[in-house]
């Protein structure tokens, strides 16, 4: 499958990387630290090899939230309408489903279309924000 071949490509590329490159923080000084770093390196290479898309925590969280919200809202709507199709409560419930479904679709499309993360403009100015922590997923 494509992903395994990409992974192996990354793996071989990563092993060619000089020590300390790709580190998020500046490399610690001192001999003990270097040894620790050497120990870390294979692990880091593994991370690079397994890494899929780089994204911000805020976006990953939003995606998960929306997916769960869609599920929940559909269940609520089914319940609200069981036997009460004509009532406003039923209509409002399905309207909510539509709203979250559209939001979910918009986010999915936005992520797929552009190479950068939707939170890019925000995180460029607020790199310290919790939402701007970098996560990788496959």
């Amino acid at each position: 499958m494509a992903s395994s071949s990409i992974a192996s490509l990354l793996f071989s590329a990563a092993s060619a990387l000089p020590a300390g490159s790709g580190a998020r923080r500046s490399p610690p000084f001192g001999r003990a630290a270097t040894r620790q770093q050497q120990q870390q390196q294979p692990r880091r290479r593994l991370v690079v090899a397994a890494a899929g898309k780089r994204r911000y925590k805020g976006t990953a969280r939003k995606e998960a939230l929306l997916a769960e919200l869609v599920e929940r809202k559909v269940a609520e709507a089914m319940e609200a309408c069981a036997g009460h199709e004509a009532e406003p409560g039923c209509r409002v419930a399905w309207d909510e489903v539509e709203e979250v479904s559209q939001a979910r679709a918009d986010l999915r499309r936005r992520i797929a279309e552009a190479p950068d993360d939707p939170l890019e403009p925000f995180c460029a100015l607020n790199p310290g924000a919790d939402d701007c922590a970098v996560v990788y997923d496959d």
Partner: protein, 395 residues
């Protein structure tokens, strides 16, 4: 001139409306505060506000009625692209913002004028489609202010250039008569039920929570409100893009091949409808033949006069799909009154966004054409305004 004062409550039920200046003097600033529950949720509880400063240039206001969410719709992206640049949320501002800004265009989402937030709507049994969910007074005040040349900016307190084109997009841009009168041009995107169903299936089937039944139930539950409140707006629109299932493939229900009608009102100021071959006559045209080979199901055009809700209209219709670049350029070369600035501009715009949905059928074609028409309308209005002071000076 009053400035909206101490509305520090986080009440989401009564956005502040304080617009008491009617004139516009040099560089005065007015601050409108509105509540926006979306921006309040995740990023620091920032509330959307308009910071306006006066300028001489008055934008042209376009209304777009669509049920596909705000600002992110394909139509909007094509429109802003015709004017140049890509539209993005305001820099440094709320990333969840529904506002898009490009060099020449600002798109405002009418969702932000909900007077009732989701909980309020639930309590009252009111859907987002219901006009009771909106604050039309606020909408009117702010659109009026924008039209009078007050630049409006949102979230970040930085000044930006006044937009040439101001688009208000949402479910109810033409619902309120006062707002309607402020629009220089209005468009309604009319998706037929079959196509809507097919699109929503494509959109939602992959979602964990959804099934065929839930998608169907959602459409049916929203239909009464949609038919009562949203649909009637199409009689007021200057242009309607109607999307129907194709007639070229019998029993097609996938919604992939589409029949799209561009219904253009006659007699609208600064707007000359597109026509095929001979203006005012009725034409059916199948471009595929000796000069142009098309793959299945081909392309079929129709053009002719008609009446629509009591108005005289011209209807240009396309059924089928574009397969290749030369089909597109061939079709473009036979259409008239496109308001292009050079031969092939429509094709160029379509190619630029070949990845957008609808790029191979009438939806993309007509949205692009409407974009060019709006540009033409804008330039005519600007030329008029430039001419007018000269006239006044003569007198």
């Amino acid at each position: 001139m009053a400035i909206c004062g101490a509305h520090t409550t986080t009440s989401l039920h009564s956005p502040c409306t304080t617009v008491s200046n009617t004139g516009c003097f040099q560089q005065k600033q007015v601050i409108f505060f509105t509540s926006n529950r979306r921006s309040g949720r995740r990023h620091g509880g920032a509330r959307t506000f308009f910071q306006v400063s006066c300028s001489v240039e008055k934008p042209v206001i376009i209304g777009l009625a669509a049920d596909s969410g705000c600002g992110k719709s394909t139509f909007m992206r094509r429109l802003t692209s015709v004017f140049g640049g890509a539209a993005e949320p305001p820099k440094g501002g709320n990333p969840d913002s529904n506002t898009l800004i490009s060099d020449t265009t600002t798109v405002i989402c009418l969702d932000d004028y909900h007077s009732l937030d989701r909980n309020g709507r639930k309590e009252k049994g009111v859907t987002a489609l219901d006009p009771r969910a909106n604050n039309f007074d606020l909408m009117y005040e702010q659109v009026k202010a924008i039209k009078e040349g007050l630049t409006s900016l949102l979230d970040p307190p930085e000044v930006i250039r006044p937009p040439k084109i101001f688009v208000i997009e949402g479910l109810h841009p033409m619902f309120d008569e006062r707002v309607r009168d402020l629009l220089d041009f209005s468009i309604y995107l009319d998706i037929s039920d079959d196509v809507k169903f097919a699109w929503k299936i494509q959109r939602d089937m992959a979602e964990r929570g959804h099934s065929l039944e839930s998608i169907k139930a959602s459409i049916e539950a929203r239909k009464p409100d949609f038919d009562a409140f949203i649909d009637p707006q199409k009689q007021y629109a200057d242009a309607v893009i109607e999307v129907l299932p194709t007639q070229l493939i019998p029993d097609d229900n996938e919604g992939k091949v589409l029949r799209v009608k561009l219904i253009m009102k006659e007699g609208v100021k600064n707007f000359n409808p597109v026509y095929l071959f001979d203006e005012g006559s009725s034409i059916t045209w199948v471009p595929c033949g000796r000069k142009l080979t098309c793959s299945y199901p081909g392309i079929k055009f129709a053009y002719g006069p008609d009446t629509y809700y009591g108005h005289e209209v011209s209807v240009l219709e396309m059924d089928g799909q574009f397969d290749r670049l030369d089909e597109l350029i061939y079709v473009e070369s036979h259409l008239s009154n496109l308001s292009t600035k050079f031969y092939g501009e429509v094709t160029q715009q379509m190619l630029k966004h070949a990845d957008f949905p609808g790029s191979n059928n009438g939806t993309g074609l007509f949205q692009t054409i409407i974009g060019l028409k709006i540009r033409d309308l804008y330039e005519q209005i600007v030329a008029e305004r430039a001419g007018a002071p000269a006239e006044a000076a003569k007198v």
